[in-house]
Amino acid sequence: MSKFEFKMPKLGESITEAAIITWFKNVGDTIGEDEMLLEVATDKVDAEVPSTVSGIVEEILFQANEVIKIGETIAIINTNGSASKSVKKDSKPESKTEKKEVKQKKSIPKKLVSAKQNNNTFFSPLIISIAKEQHISYEELARIPATGNDGRLRKSDIFQYIKEGRPFQFVQPTIEHDPTAYRIPQLKLDKGTGEIVKMDRMRKMIADHMVYSKHTSPHVTAYVEADLTEMVKWRNKNKIPFQEKHHCKLTFTPLFIEAVAKAVKDFPMINVSIDEDNIIVKKDINIGMATALPSGNLIVPVVKNADNKNLHELAVSVNNLSKKARENNLNADDIQGSTFTISNVGTFGSLMGTPIINQPEVAILALGIIKKRAEVMETENGDEIAIRSMMYLSLSFDHRAVDGYLGGSFLRKIADYLEQFDTKRTI
């Protein structure tokens, strides 16, 4: 018969009482050593409290929201219970801890019975900076088994403790986090071996931008399909005459931009950016077009005031920017001021994509490959199967600013403009 009185543990030098937030175990549950028993709150921190013994929870003496003095018994655990591990438990865990601490290096710290506090609470500057990096509180530091002279916590102790998964970790007070800061989780990934290629500045900027965008904006992606048969026909017919007349190649991009700009005009709330609590509605419609540089890096040159340009002007502008990008000649002005971005993933043969928003914009359009497909057409003679040039369009939008209704309508509108292409228009 062995009833263990589980007491409210010491949570820090200055803490005299703690409130129970929740019990993780009910009466009759089995609990293992180091398994979390309850969560408590203090004026300083919220902490999960592990059991120091294994057994069966026999009694719970206080309920959630009750405030308990440190050291007061809050639960009774029957250590003769079936949950006992094969390791024989001593009825005096305190003394056992001390013994273990002495031979800390060889012992398996998972077996540490209690989060006994160190008497020596001097922490060196190095320990403090490690603690800061790892988000370890003073209260937690005080619980790490210390092996330095006079019980001082040494560097090797703290890293050993981290390696063991921080058995005495407290729940982190959320107010201390900068909500915009992205913290790298401690995943201990095996990064593997191979040739190491250092990221160039641009690569790093792209990486930062992408992580930031994904981290900041809740992305939602919507898809539509558009029948481009008429537009393709028109373009094939006018390709050479356009070239002869304007000395300028006619690609699909200016046609897409034209349609996008028109749709943006119809839905001005797509042409916005978020500045904390404010939404800035942009007057100009500047369409960025994601482009690959010779180095393989991504860049977004901008067709300014796309809604005010006719097809010829758009073609000139698009061709000009593409040429500059290919030759690494883009200047600062060429890549500034975009309000909405398109990415023609079809050029790589992709059917569709889920693009990442070009911050601080709120939406980005990906255009898939134009592909001939057998489509069911409704005709006067009933349904017929026809060969049509089809394209998927996908729009990723920032759900903070754009809801499904707006995003979907806008996306459909682009498709409509593409499908209802005026085949009689002149060049």
């Binding site: 500057p125 900076s129 040494r154 560097k155 090797s156």
Partner: protein
């Protein structure tokens, strides 16, 4: 008396009037000009001008702080001197760094003036070093470029002389004896001009000396001395003319003792009226009326004389107005010319050539010097017992005298001040002296020259006169050397700014560093551990090296991480920062923890490779500085403090220092010696203490 050419008299009188007008103007404007202390030549002008007018551009002069009339006679303008009076930026001597009439000059058309300190008498050894250098160049057939290229045609081809100007009171100082001894012994082409006004500051001749400089010189056989009336221009000029001519042709030293009255204050900081009891008498010996009469006798009219006086006075007044408004130095001017730039910045050559043999450290040094001497005529070696008979008490110069002759490798008397200070003069005439004090324990008499003259020459001459020299100092305890053959002194040396300091732990480093030191235009002290010379101390076999190739050079300021470890998180780690013998203790002490302890051999104590040190300590989180010196107030303690300051946030324990016990001397008895100084065992215990901290 030979009759004097009129133009000489006119020029001399003009100089005298200019100097006198300056002294008077400084008195009139006392408040304005006495922010910084100054002394004037008033009363001493005649003999100064008589000497100054006869020096040539190839000559070297060491005027002292009462010699403003001499500077005028070299062709300097009142304006030049007044810029220094008020410590202006354009002061041609020091850029506002040192006092009035503390000249240093390297103009083509004037005698060369190396830097000299303000401490009286201290210029005698550097000046004698110049004369020794002139003699060496003549013996080695090294051409005197200044004599060949002199802008004054009449002076071309004449042999140069050295002039050292002294006040009689300074002749009582010990270093003067070292200088006279060497000049007399080696028969050097030098003129010591001693201006005797009978006063120190307030102490007079009767209180301070048993004999005057002329009488004193009689004890230095081979130093010919004359005594003249320095207030009589014609007499002075004629006597000095003869002396200079003799020195130029016969190449031997002279002392000219010139009696002069002191007619102005000792300096602007001390009023003569307070304590002088001989002012009336002194004024009766004023050189000014004497020279005026000599002009009248030579046929100048009173009007002509008045005209000379008036124009001198006007020029002085004009220059003063101009100097008053000249620009002051800027705060950033503080930071220039502490050192001349060295061409040696990269490690080059083969450190460990294949097929070469392992040699003891002392031989690495020997071979380095030998290679340098073979290559450069300008390179010479002197010190106590380094000459042919013994080749150094540690055989560190063995065979060199046989190979290069007694003129290039020679013994000096027991004169540490001369050994160190003469390099200022040797370097000034373009030579590269390597000198040695026999034991670090005996560096003390040489420290005055090292601090006062050698270390500050470059800085206080505003970059004109860096002193290129190497001072080799055998150092450290090597087993029962006792209290006067075992001491460590690096903290004293590292407290002198303006010198570079090496303290190698092995032969390859020593050889590479001697080469770097040779090509460095600045003064370098190389501390060579006596226990490592022959790996005599047990456990120091690591000091022997495969001899690096002849072209191997190791720049100063590059520490060596001889034991490098990875950053380890779950193991306690430590950086040991050390040098010299400490490197061997540290290495031996970490035999069973090579991957826990990083060891940095500083190699040079100045410049100090702080980057390497701090980077390592930030990596390991703990640091032990190991020194052989008693640890209190030592270089090692100061470095510990600096590491603490820089690495505080990265430290898991205080930076610790281990050194000798803080007792006054290393006792002779071996038990006491072992107790006194660190050892592998003691360092090991300290390492454990720190790892377990």
């Amino acid at each position: 008396m030979t009759s004097m050419k009129k133009n000489i008299l006119e020029k001399a009188f003009s100089n005298l009037c200019t100097a006198k007008s300056m002294a008077e103007l400084y008195e009139t404007n006392f408040k304005q000009v006495s922010k910084y202390v100054h002394a004037t030549s008033r009363g001493h002008e005649a003999v100064q001008i008589a000497l100054g007018m006869q020096l040539l551009p190839q000559d070297y002069a060491f005027p002292y702080y009462r010699d403003d009339a001499m500077l005028l006679s070299f062709g300097l303008k009142p304006y030049d001197l007044m810029l220094q009076l008020m410590a202006k930026k354009e002061d041609p001597f020091s850029g506002g760094r040192t006092y009035y009439c503390h000249p240093s000059l390297k103009d083509d058309d004037k005698p060369k003036i190396p830097h000299q300190s303000s401490a009286t008498g201290m210029q005698a050894i550097p000046a004698t070093g110049v004369a020794m250098g002139m003699q060496y160049k003549e013996l080695q057939g090294i051409e005197d470029q200044a004599a060949i290229l002199s802008p004054r045609a009449e002076s071309r081809g004449l042999k140069p002389i050295t002039v050292c100007s002294l006040g009689d009171a300074s002749v009582t100082e010990g270093e003067i004896a070292e200088a006279f001894q060497m000049a007399a012994l080696k028969q050097m082409p030098i003129l010591y001009l001693v201006q005797d006004n009978g006063w120190d500051i307030s102490a007079n001749a009767a209180e301070t000396r048993a004999q005057n400089a002329y009488e004193y010189a009689q004890g230095f056989h081979g130093l010919e001395a004359i005594s003249i009336d320095g207030a009589n221009f014609t007499e002075s000029y004629n006597a000095i003319e003869k002396v200079i001519k003799t020195i130029r042709t016969e190449r031997r030293p002279f002392l000219v003792h010139a009696k002069v009255p002191l007619l102005n204050h000792h300096t602007s900081g001390v009023r003569m009226e307070w304590y002088r009891d001989d002012l009336e008498e002194a004024r009766s010996r004023d050189p000014y009326p004497v020279l005026k009469q000599q002009l009248l006798d030579a046929g100048f009219t009173s009007d002509e004389i008045k005209e000379i006086e008036k124009s001198a006075k006007n020029k002085v007044a004009e220059d003063f107005e101009k100097a008053l408004i000249a620009e002051d130095p800027k705060p950033e001017d503080l930071f220039t010319h502490d050192f001349a730039p060295t061409p040696i910045t990269e490690e080059v050559g083969e450190r460990t050539p294949e097929g070469s043999e392992k040699v003891v450290m002392v031989d690495c040094a020997l071979f380095a010097v030998e290679e340098l001497m073979r290559k450069h005529k300008e390179c010479l070696l002197y010190g106590q017992d380094v000459g042919g008979r013994l080749g150094g008490v540690f055989r560190e110069a063995a065979t060199l005298a046989q190979k290069f002759g007694d003129d290039r490798v020679f013994n000096t008397p027991i004169q540490e001040a001369f050994i160190v200070g003469s390099t200022v003069g040797m370097s000034a005439v373009g030579l590269k002296p390597i000198v040695e004090v026999q034991f670090a324990d005996y560096i003390w008499p040489g420290l005055n020259q090292l601090f006062t003259e050698v270390s500050r020459s470059c800085y206080l001459s505003n970059g004109k006169w860096p002193v290129s020299m190497i001072l080799r100092v055998p150092i450290g305890a090597y087993g029962s050397g006792g209290p006067y053959h075992s001491s460590s002194v690096e903290s004293v040396i590292t407290n002198i700014r303006g010198i570079k300091i090496a303290y190698p732990s092995n032969g390859a480093d020593l050889k590479g560093l001697i080469k770097a030191a040779y090509y460095d235009p600045n003064p370098v002290v190389i501390l060579e551990h006596k226990g490592l010379y022959w790996s005599k101390v047990p456990g120091t076999k690591g000091a022997t090296s495969v001899e690096p190739s002849e072209d191997y050079i190791l720049p100063f300021g590059k520490a060596w991480v001889l034991q490098e470890i990875w950053k380890q998180e779950d193991v306690e780690t430590l950086t040991i920062v050390t040098y010299g013998m400490g490197v061997h203790w540290a290495y031996n002490a970490t035999k069973n923890m090579r991957d826990q302890v990083e060891i940095i051999d500083l190699r040079t104590l100045f410049p100090l490779d702080e980057d390497t040190v701090m980077k390592s300590v930030k990596k390991t989180g703990k640091c032990l500085v190991v020194t052989e010196e008693p640890s209190n107030n030592s270089f090692a303690r100061a470095l510990s403090g600096k590491i603490q300051e820089e690495c505080f946030k990265h430290l898991d324990a205080p930076v610790m220092t281990i050194g000798s016990e803080n007792m006054p001397a290393i006792p002779l008895n071996s038990t006491l010696e072992e107790t006194m100084i660190p050892s592998t065992e003691k360092v090991k215990r300290k390492i454990h203490e720190l790892l377990n901290y």
